[in-house]
Symmetry: C2
Subunit: 322 residues, 2 copies
């Protein structure tokens, strides 16, 4: 049970996550925190319609990960899935570059059908995660549509188009979150911002996975007003992203190569605590100079034990009872 | 090439079909007639939305049959299909009594997506059949929605609900075709009615599969005005339907047990030729007395050779050049 911390807050941890990297820490947090002591808010800027279905790639990755159903080879998709529908879609003239397995397809079918019946994405996400056995709350950042648009030398495109279809090849020159200014933080997200004892930024791409969440009206202000530990877990280890297109994105938007320090600079003034990998210890002082309390530890999460160890270290740093 | 028959008509055969039985004769006709000499018009009264997808059961059965992709065990569905999406749909809370395989699902996804993009069901059906290698024209009876509603002692339900979900158990007391009065025969169907040299009623359920087609405004009049052979192939052999719920339906609507004669009576005045099975020879004279030219032959179609033989007999009877 989440305990009141005496500051009028009712406790618990709010974790902000994107896809595979964020999902790993979310799994660790879910292993050590009770269901009512953890709310995982997930980026939906990369949601897209494929084959007429509403796909929420990051929500699915987090949900499958917590349910123990994620493909361990990729971190996303359904373990041991088959691709018979996709194979046939190709023969039927669909532009089927976005891979979807057959089990996975059922999730998108069900989500799309439920959304069309009038349920919110928050309601659908909670229902479907619950049916997969997930007891912790996974909620979208917003119930309104926000689209992360990559502006490139080849024109504008969605993240999936850029990353999956175009293999991160177009040169990125800008980024925007269409619809963010008129969207609201989802109800559970909003409540969590006002009640939790700590906020954890999971190791997800700052520009592509976390900034869409921060772009929602009021979110930055509520984080600043929370007066609780705000912990950043660096997604960059030794100058490299564990997964995804961070390197070129950093060059474009931070005008520097990716590094733990660059991540710390990105969140300067918003967050209070910073967790970086042993490999990056050399920049510890530079990060501390930005005003962070710093923890240097092993942050690469390969096994479940790594996820639990990192989650435990994060909670201890944030003085969250586990 | 269809040849002009000297009556101002440009030739060819129009076949009206429902599901499995109709599809068998359609396959036979397609084997002996050139693509421009055969138009297959299919019942869409049983079309329904499952899992948010537009399903056209009879169109799919005819298309898979002509493409050589039908499951030979059932006559419907995709040969060798897997059911992984359906299995997962059940775990996700879907009321998943309508079985759909994974390959099959792709067809429904694609159709639904194309319809939503603004294409007509005729356009979608032709495109998808063509991609499956079908060279003959398969068209829906209408591009507008017509719903066959079974009125039963357990309330109103669709045919799929009655036949698949409720296993034909509710007592049928009425039948109606919602939307038929304001729907139009599809453009290709309408043209075929005005141009073909023969119309063949494939061995499909008269009440459930053919009557919805005949309920479309103008269709009965165009058939009557055609002055070409109108051939009925009896779906009842030896008092039994080869497949489907014909027996109880006949009791309800024809007030008699199913028989070749009852089929002939059902179409009396509309059709000119009647094909019945050897098993039913005893009622030959009674059928002739209704004004039909009668052919008694082997009508049970098990192998492709049976389909071709019956199709050949039908065309010869209708004086269609093959």
């Amino acid at each position: 049970m989440a305990q009141s911390s005496g500051n009028g807050r009712t406790g618990g941890v709010l974790a902000l996550a994107g896809g595979v990297g964020g999902a790993k820490l979310a799994v660790g947090l879910a292993r050590i925190l009770e269901p009512d002591a953890l709310t995982i808010v997930v980026n939906t800027g990369d949601d897209e319609t494929f084959y007429g279905l509403h796909i929420s790639p990051d929500i699915d990755t987090v949900t499958y990960s917590l349910a123990g159903l994620a493909n361990p080879e990729t971190g996303w998709g359904y373990v041991g899935d088959t691709f018979n529908a996709l194979e046939t879609l190709k023969t039927l003239g669909a532009d089927a570059w976005f891979g979807l397995g057959d089990h996975d397809l059922a999730l998108h079918l069900r989500r799309t059908d439920m959304l069309r019946s009038g349920m919110t994405l928050s309601e659908v996400t909670l229902d479907l995660a619950g049916r997969m056995g997930v007891r912790h709350q996974i909620v979208p950042m917003s119930d309104q549509r926000v689209r992360t648009i990559i502006e490139s030398t080849d024109g504008e495109m969605s993240f999936q188009e850029y990353f999956v279809h175009r293999r991160s090849e177009p040169e990125v020159i800008g980024l925007r979150f269409d619809g963010a200014e008129s969207a609201n933080a989802s109800p559970v997200f909003h409540t969590a911002l006002e009640t939790v004892d700590a906020i954890v930024f999971c190791p997800s791409n700052p520009f592509l996975s976390v900034d869409p969440i921060l772009a929602l009206p009021g979110v930055r202000d509520l984080i600043a007003a929370a007066s609780v530990p705000i912990v950043i877990v660096s997604p960059i280890i030794g100058g490299r992203a564990v997964k995804g297109p961070a390197a070129r994105i950093f060059e474009t938007f931070a005008h520097k190569p990716p590094s733990a320090l660059a991540v710390a600079e990105h969140y300067e003034g918003l967050a209070t605590h910073f967790v970086m990998d042993n490999e990056d210890e050399a920049s510890r002082e530079a990060v501390e100079a930005l005003g962070y309390q710093v923890l240097v530890t092993e942050t690469l999460m390969t096994e479940d034990a790594d996820k639990i160890a990192l989650a435990t270290a994060v909670c201890e740093m944030a003085a969250v009872a586990i």
